[in-house]
Amino acid sequence: MTKMSPTKVVIYVVCILLAVLSIMPFWIMFVNSTRSTVEIQGGISLLPSSHFMSNLSILLNKGFNPMVGFVNSFAIAAGATLCGVYFSSLTAYALVAYHFKARQAFFTFIMCVLMIPAQVSAIGFYQFMYQLHWVNSIWPLILPSIAAPAMVFFMRQYLLSTLSIEMVEAARIDGSGEFATFNRIILPLMAPAIATQAIFAFVGSWNSLFTPMILLTSKDRYTMPIMVNLLRGDIYRTEFGSIYLGLAMTSLPLFVVYFLLSRYIIAGVALGGVKE
């Protein structure tokens, strides 16, 4: 092996330390989920122990039901993702394929509402949903993603570089209606952009805490991030192993998704920054 320059040694040492810093908290979480309270009180270990089953039974016996959180989070995230990618594609297609008077104005409008955070309208949103009897319903967490300005912006950029209007015209000559053309020709064309946006929409919805925490007050409606809060409470005070096991369960689906799709996710993040 050729000798490495001192600069490069420093670089690798720093990068490896940062990688360890990324992994270590999660490593301790997974290891501690298999250790007993006594073992955890005894100090740090990097190797798993054998108390997984007892931790699990304590966790489940005190009202933490990860299946409920998983099903609720999945239903909301899947619904929000489907609504988001479908209607954002449709909106972007309208902005790219049709020449209508308000087109530029509408695009400017989308750019203006891009940055409005959920927090600023939360009080009115909650009161409105309360009057509609939609508190503890999953719909107010799914349907708002029909209007996802950032996704429309991304889809529009993608269509501008891939859509040829000749394709649309050819479909028209074949007698295809406008809506059918979008569903049968344009949507498949947008598959790569839809896949990228779907990952981020799903993860974003799965992880969101603020709006679900306001709307979902009934325990059987809790999503994963709200359930996490139960682990901080008094019921698990000294059951450290069970707390870590609960945390591990809430994050395991994300680790699986991340390691399967990391290539696309990293590429998607890179794309996000250079979009302007």
Partner: protein, 322 residues
């Protein structure tokens, strides 16, 4: 053969209907409703009826004078700064290393995957995980510091206001520097290689190339990151809510946590929380406006530069002809 010209413009409008409907229903109306509530006497759990106050701005005056709200804004700002400066510095350093042609750092793909990883995990989970790691008197971090002999007895990290703030800033930094790094690297890869070749021919070393070629080219992306981070930081909720729940002594109560706690805990003061949200809306709008201005400025500046160049060329041409 020519088809009879058909106007398809109406489909443009038809296809926008779902977006507009969802926006009006779930965004615009709730914002206006929040504004109305901010001028009303609405409070108490389960109440929905309210009346507008004699002085519609009374809640705004109260909230602006409220020490807790002022403190929450200051807290948000402090935590954001403590997170953003090291985040940008480390991301820039890693970008300089990873994009340096001469160094050829290996394993970049794996490093990117690992350094970005904390960003994808639920921040709620991360908050409670760190809460457990820093727990007192027994917890992994306390075991570590006593094992290393840094202290002889366990330290109650989350009872110390500045430590708690620092830890939240650290968690935010730890979750986001990988993201910023990937964005900056993509930015460097977008710079025309010709500029780097020119710098190499001029004999610029790695440091000079980074300082005088790469950094100026990244200005736009760094500004974009700065402002999106600022707007994101203003909404900081998950970590302070689940890590310290605003404590100790409200030292980590950010503006969003304040709004949540005012509206959905204690005496359910929806009107106050709504007024605070509206102030936050104004601040966000100012930052967004700044982002717009800076991004549009780019094109305008380019056009201006081009025009100047053309004028110069014209003048030179004129000179040559004369």
């Amino acid at each position: 053969m020519r088809h009879k010209s058909v106007s398809y413009a109406k489909y443009g409008y038809i296809f926008l209907v779902p977006f507009v409907a969802a926006f009006l229903f779930f965004s615009l109306y709730p914002i206006i409703y929040t504004l109305v509530i901010s001028m009303s006497d609405l409070k108490g759990v389960g109440t929905a009826s309210f009346s507008i106050l004699a002085n519609p701005f009374q809640n705004f005056i109260n909230i602006a004078k409220n020490e807790l709200f002022q403190k929450s804004l200051a807290t948000t700002g402090i935590i954001w700064i403590l997170n953003f400066i090291p985040q940008m510095a480390l991301a820039l350093l890693l970008t300089a290393w990873f994009t340096n042609e001469r160094l050829r750092v290996r394993g970049q793909g794996a490093f990117k995957v690992l350094l970005y990883m904390p960003n994808i995990i639920t921040s709620g989970t991360i908050a409670v995980l760190f809460y457990s790691l820093f727990s007192y008197p027994i917890g992994p971090v306390n075991s570590l510091v006593t094992m290393l002999g840094l202290t002889d007895r366990p330290y109650e990290f989350l009872r110390d206001a500045s430590v708690a703030r620092g830890l939240i800033a650290f968690i935010q930094f730890w979750m986001w520097y990988g993201n910023t790094m990937i964005v900056l690297i993509a930015g460097v890869l977008g710079i025309s290689p010709a500029i780097f070749d020119a710098a190499a021919i001029d004999g610029a070393n790695s440091l000079k190339t980074f300082l005088y070629v790469t950094l100026p080219s990244l200005r736009q992306i760094m500004l974009y990151t700065l402002i999106t981070s600022l707007i994101g930081g203003l909404q900081m909720f998950d970590i302070p809510k689940l890590f310290t729940n605003g404590g100790p002594d409200n030292a980590t109560q950010t503006a969003s946590v304040y709004i949540f706690n005012q509206a959905f805990t204690g005496s359910y003061q929806y009107n106050r929380a709504a007024a605070a949200s509206m102030l936050m809306f104004v601040i966000t709008a100012i930052f967004s406006g700044a982002l717009f201005y800076l991004m549009r400025d780019k094109d305008a500046q380019k056009a201006k530069k081009q025009r100047k160049l053309l004028e110069k060329a014209a003048a030179l041409n004129g000179g040559a002809q004369a």
